[in-house]
């Protein structure tokens, strides 16, 4: 329902009708990652409005509109080449849009008075190899107005204190990613824009990032995170924005995906007989296929009920499995329906 609403909204003409109503979040509780911002503060949403980006006539982003609400973690999903990174780079001014706007409230990134104290970004973990991790943060601290004490605190937080004075060329991919996260947090920002931040992170790092993002958003701040690890997004995000070929497919709160409602998968030699028998269940039955061939997906999580119906009808069953409906399934279903 929400997906249909989002796609339908995209086709409307007026931007105000097409975008969900932006809300402003007040930060009232003390923030874990910056006591300076513990005072009450308004964080406007991120607004992507009719964004178009064309590279030599090829559209990377097509009339894309969505809103990222404050106080929530928003997962930004799409297959490779969907336009996620381009959208994020436009948002922080590294790439210019062909038309449309991507703003933090009313302000484009370049118009922010203190960019690093407003937005923290992890877009790629590229560093000068000869510069130490600590010195990299010191360079950025000059414009972020961050003290050496904060640098050391952040290095400790991302577990890089021991290697902080070693050149970045000696860092693993995961260590570089953690350094990039520390750099993003230097200015105690209100927004985090993270493109594949889990790349190279070990399981402990991923778990740390998950709780960190939850804490961050809990203080009323905004997180936009892209990742191919759908399980991670499922565990972390409050909302998801799904795009494909530069177009919005859906903007849905995770709570509306009803991920806990599962399905039942049945693999049967005689499909027709099974379809006739399962009609008694009054559940949706779809014929689907995977690498092992065709199977039936029944929209009920009551496996025993399905098994009883088939047994009573004398139908031979090769496989009978309870499928938990997860984000991955939902994601591919969205992609499938967009084709």
């Amino acid at each position: 329902m929400a997906r249909r609403a989002a796609v339908a909204a995209q086709s409307a003409d007026h931007p105000a009708r097409r975008l969900p109503q932006p809300t402003v979040q007040r930060i009232a509780s003390p923030a874990t990652y910056g006591s300076r911002r513990a005072i009450t503060r308004e964080v406007p949403p991120i607004i992507v409005d009719r964004l178009v980006k064309s590279y030599n006539g090829t559209l990377a982003v097509r009339d894309l509109s969505f809103v990222v609400q404050p106080g929530r973690v928003t997962g930004f999903l799409g297959p490779n080449g969907a336009g996620k990174t381009t959208t994020m780079r436009i948002l922080v001014g590294l790439t210019s849009p062909t038309t449309g706007r991507a703003t933090f409230g009313d302000l484009a990134y370049a118009d922010l008075q203190h960019p690093q104290r407003t937005v923290g970004c992890v877009l790629d973990a590229s560093f000068h190899p000869a510069r130490s991790g600590r010195n990299h943060l010191r360079v950025l601290a000059a414009t972020a107005d961050a003290s050496d004490r904060r640098i050391d605190w952040l290095l400790d937080e991302v577990r890089l204190s021991d290697v902080a004075r070693r050149p970045v060329e000696e860092y693993s991919t995961g260590m570089r990613q953690r350094l990039a996260l520390a750099a993003a947090m230097l200015g105690k920002p209100d927004y985090l824009i993270l493109d594949e931040p889990t790349n190279g992170l070990d399981p402990a790092g991923i778990r740390w990032l998950r709780s960190f993002l939850r804490d961050f958003a809990a203080t009323g701040r905004t997180v936009l995170i892209s990742s191919h690890l759908l399980k991670e997004i499922e565990a972390t995000a409050d909302d998801i924005v799904v795009i494909n070929r530069g177009r919005l497919l859906a903007q849905v709160p995770m709570s509306e995906l009803n991920l806990s409602e599962g399905t039942t998968r049945v693999r049967i030699p005689d499909m027709q007989a099974a379809l006739r028998a399962l009609a008694a269940l009054r559940a949706d039955v779809q014929v689907a296929a995977d690498e092992r061939g065709a199977f039936l997906r029944i929209s009920t999580h009551k496996v025993s009920q399905v098994g009883s119906v088939l047994l009573n009808s004398g139908i031979v069953v090769d496989e009978l499995i309870s499928e938990r409906r997860d984000l991955e399934q939902e994601f591919f279903s969205m992609l499938e329906s967009s084709r």
Binding site: G93, H128, A130, V139, L140, D145
Partner: protein
């Protein structure tokens, strides 16, 4: 703006490049300053020149003896500081910190100019240190009370700083650091001297004065034939303006490309 400048100064001083370059400049400048000093001493002993170390021209050439190499190294610093950002993809951090790209580039230019001045001071300091034993041993004078000597020292420092800017312009214009370096060094050590030699032999003083090294020589009031300097150099202030124009030429083209283009 001050934050951007501070960030860029930290960027320069947080790799090994800065002190390696300064050591090279000091050692090479000392070596190159010893050449005119030794030549003057030999001429004095041969009776060609009397009291060479009281001659303002000779004293100035010792102080600025390292200029010819120091300015090339300063240019290399300019190229590397920008080129390495392209090479390692770290320019995004600069833009994220200072999203107004012109302001970001001005911060880089300011920091490089400051470092160029330090390079210049190092070069002149090496020349002055070399001058000490020659002057003291030959009853000479450091001539530091003469306005022309002080002006020559200051302009020597400024010229090296301006060559850092030429390097920065090249680095912005040519995004491949290796190509920019090779091109910069070839231009500085090969093409420019050959063109200057041809112009010198043809006595084309006007053209010589608009070459980067010709303008630098004119700034320093050097008229040595060994450096293919014009017999009638431009006034120092005009030469300074010509050198500034050489900085701006590649920088403007490069800045336009950085300000307008998407960062890959």
């Amino acid at each position: 703006m001050s934050g951007a400048l501070r960030a860029e100064l930290r960027r320069i001083t947080t790799t090994k490049l800065w002190w390696i370059v300064l050591i090279c400049i000091f050692v090479l400048s000392a070596g190159y300053a010893a050449l005119p000093a030794s030549a003057a001493l030999l001429q004095s002993k041969a009776g060609v020149v009397r009291s060479p170390f009281t001659d303002p021209g000779i004293i100035r050439s010792i102080y600025n003896g390292g200029n010819i190499l120091s300015r090339i190294l300063a240019m290399v610093v300019g190229i590397v500081s920008i080129g390495s950002e392209y090479r390692y993809g770290s320019l995004a951090w600069s833009i994220l910190a200072t999203p107004r790209r012109l302001r970001m580039l001005l911060g880089k230019a300011g920091a490089l100019l400051i470092f160029g001045v330090i390079c210049g001071i190092t070069s002149v300091a090496a020349g002055m240190l070399v001058a000490i034993p020659f002057v003291l041993a030959n009853n000479g004078s450091f001539l530091l009370d003469q306005p022309n000597t002080l002006r020559s020292i200051i302009l020597g420092i400024c010229s090296i700083a301006l060559w850092t800017m030429i390097g920065m312009g090249l680095g912005i214009l040519i995004k491949n650091i290796l190509i920019a370096l090779v091109l910069g060094v070839i231009l500085g050590f090969l093409v420019e001297p050959i063109v200057s030699l041809v112009l010198f032999l043809k006595r084309e003083d006007q053209l010589l004065n608009v070459m980067p090294s010709g303008a630098t020589n004119a700034m320093l009031e050097i008229s040595s034939p060994v450096l293919f300097a014009a017999q009638h150099p431009s006034p120092w202030w005009l030469a300074g303006m010509i050198l500034v124009a050489w900085c701006l030429l590649p920088a403007l083209a490069g800045v336009l490309s950085v300000v307008r283009r998407d960062l890959a």
